[in-house]
């Protein structure tokens, strides 16, 4: 990692335990992590800081994950930011919608362990 800038990741998850879990795993792996409780907090944070990757839940209070992607304009303005969507609702229509809005990957939360998610994140960030 010497000479390399530490990657910054934003975790957007409204369920506190899962948020802490993802934050713990990613921070321990050496990433700089910020957390947001909903889409509004995520938009505020992304307007202030630049992130290398975003781990995004879909069913969020106030502004949903899909609305966040639209507002953030992940596909248009931030194509370099890697976005992993995690949700327990995996309908192909939702998957294709988030992909068209700039998401790089979609995983079903309940089938994914934190370590599995970390591996996917590392692969995605390495592929840059």
């Amino acid at each position: 990692m010497a000479g390399k800038k530490t990657k910054r990741i934003l975790v957007v998850e409204d369920y506190p335990s899962l948020r802490d879990l993802y934050n713990f795993v990613l921070t321990r792996a050496g990433y700089l992590c910020d957390v947001a409780n909903d889409g509004i907090e995520a938009l505020q944070l992304t307007s202030k800081k630049k992130y290398d990757a975003i781990l995004l839940d879909l069913l969020l209070q106030n502004v949903s994950g899909v609305e966040f992607l639209r507002e953030y304009d992940a596909a248009g303005k931030h194509p370099d930011v890697k976005i992993i969507v995690i949700s327990n609702v995996k309908h192909p229509s939702v998957v294709s919608e988030v992909e068209s809005l700039g998401a790089d990957a979609f995983y079903v939360k309940s089938t994914m362990t934190p370590d599995g998610l970390l591996k996917k994140m590392q692969e995605l960030l390495k592929a840059e």
Binding site: Y15, L21, T111, T113, D115
Partner: protein, 430 residues
């Protein structure tokens, strides 16, 4: 008396009743507009007598006046959240006033010869499709009485005598038609009510399963971290207990999915979202997820494919097919003793693919095999606690495979083992 005609018998929701009353009012408003245009056209383009002008005007005035009154009354009832009985009363008076209006139209346009009797169908259909059976049949009964009275009055007014037997017979036939329409509209209403109730139930199950799944996902995450030794080494017993907690949680996650899927199946709401599914990759992935359990149970697993040089891709619903494979492998492992072997074979045929999962486990007695694909049916398992599993897995699998126009079969011998074979079309026909 009101109770018999009470539209609240079936509908539990006041707002829904008021909103349907408003829908009815809207329909009525459009109807008035259409009637006005028809009336004007009748005056100017037919040979209708100019003497029709005054009755038509009166009819139109009555319609507009009742429309204004009823619209106001419904709005008033909503503002003041009046009793449902009040709204029901307004609706019934509205329907009766409609029947009176159409009787007026029949009277001035020729009594038993009038084509305006078609208009009677409107309140009948509306009553049947928006409100319940009592309202539909009450409206129809009022219609029949007023129609009969109208043709008698029109005949007396025009010719000074009573309608002939033929005219009465014709009117009775029309009245029977009114009842048929009332029945059909009511039937549609009942179907719609059932569908709405089913969807509300499904939505509730769906919401509940999401709420249940989230904490279970968090438990899975925390346990998997500790089990992976990320927080320090574990003693053998600690690892064993945590592993069991992890397995129980996995079972709970599967149960939640199963309950949601059974609700979808029962309410005929299980739908396949067809996409390309790489079966070879999916099997490897699901196998990987079960590997820890297989190792813990000291079992061996082997995956063979008839087409090793390339992945086998089919058109199917990814999530649903994943569930089938997951269930097959999980069952095979559960019902296979220590040192047992599970063989997964994937074959590609011209139009189909065949996936078989073979184990040398306890096997299933012949008499139990047929029952196995029913709900809440479980094979007796000597390996594990008999309370494990919901008995829903195979039932759901069968329904998922049916949805994909595929087949599932079982070959099993007690004490020898079982082979579950799933055949799926390579291309979706849907």
């Amino acid at each position: 008396m009101m109770e018999y005609y009470d539209v609240s018998n079936i509908d539990a929701n006041y707002d829904s009743l008021v909103s349907r009353a408003n829908t009815y009012n809207k329909v009525r408003l459009y109807l008035i507009m259409a009637l006005t245009v028809a009336g004007v056209a009748l005056m100017f383009y037919s040979h209708a007598s100019a003497s029709l002008f005054i009755p038509l005007l009166a009819l139109f005035g009555f319609t507009v006046a009742t429309q204004l009154i009823f619209t106001w009354l419904i709005a008033f009832s909503r503002r003041h959240t009046l009793r449902r009985g009040f709204v029901n009363g307004v609706i019934l008076f509205e329907l009766i006033s409609d029947v009176i209006i159409y009787s007026g139209a029949v009277f001035i346009s020729g009594g038993s010869e009038s084509q305006a009797l078609v208009l009677y169908l409107l309140p009948i259909i509306i009553a049947g499709s928006l409100f319940n059976r009592s309202v539909a049949f009450f409206t129809t009964a009022i219609t029949v009485i007023l129609y009969m009275a109208t043709i008698v009055a029109a005949q007396a007014h025009m010719y000074g005598d009573l309608p002939s037997a033929i005219q009465i017979g014709q009117a009775v036939f029309y009245c029977a038609v009114f009842f048929v329409f009332a029945y059909l509209a009511d039937h549609l209403y009942a179907l719609r009510q059932k569908r709405e109730a089913d969807l509300a139930q499904l939505e509730m199950v769906s919401l509940a399963s999401h709420q249940l799944r989230t904490p279970a996902t968090a438990v899975k995450g925390f346990l998997s971290l500790v089990l992976a030794g990320e927080l320090g080494p574990l003693k053998l017993k600690q690892r064993d207990f945590l592993r069991r907690a992890y397995d129980e949680n996995e079972l709970e996650l599967r149960l939640i999915d199963n309950i949601l899927n059974v609700a979808r199946i029962e309410l005929k709401n299980l739908r396949a979202h067809i996409e390309d599914v790489d079966l070879t990759q999916l099997i490897e992935e699901v196998m990987g997820e079960h590997m820890q359990n297989i190792i813990d149970r000291d079992q061996a697993v082997e995956f063979k494919t008839s087409y090793p040089e390339k992945h086998i891709v089919i058109q199917a619903d990814y999530q649903l097919i994943r569930m089938v494979i997951d269930n097959l492998i999980s069952n095979a492992s559960k019902y296979t003793p220590k040192k047992g072997k599970i063989i997964i074979i994937l074959k590609r045929h011209k139009d189909t693919v065949e996936l078989s999962v073979e184990d040398n486990g306890t096997g299933i007695a012949r008499q139990d095999q047929k029952k196995l694909f029913r709900r809440f049916s479980r094979a007796i398992n000597t390996n594990v606690d008999s309370t494990e599993g919901s008995g829903l897995g195979l039932y759901i699998m069968k329904e998922i495979i049916k949805l994909h126009n595929g087949k599932i079969s079982l070959t099993s011998y007690k004490g020898v083992g079982s082979i579950f074979t799933v055949t799926l079309p390579r291309r979706s026909n849907g």
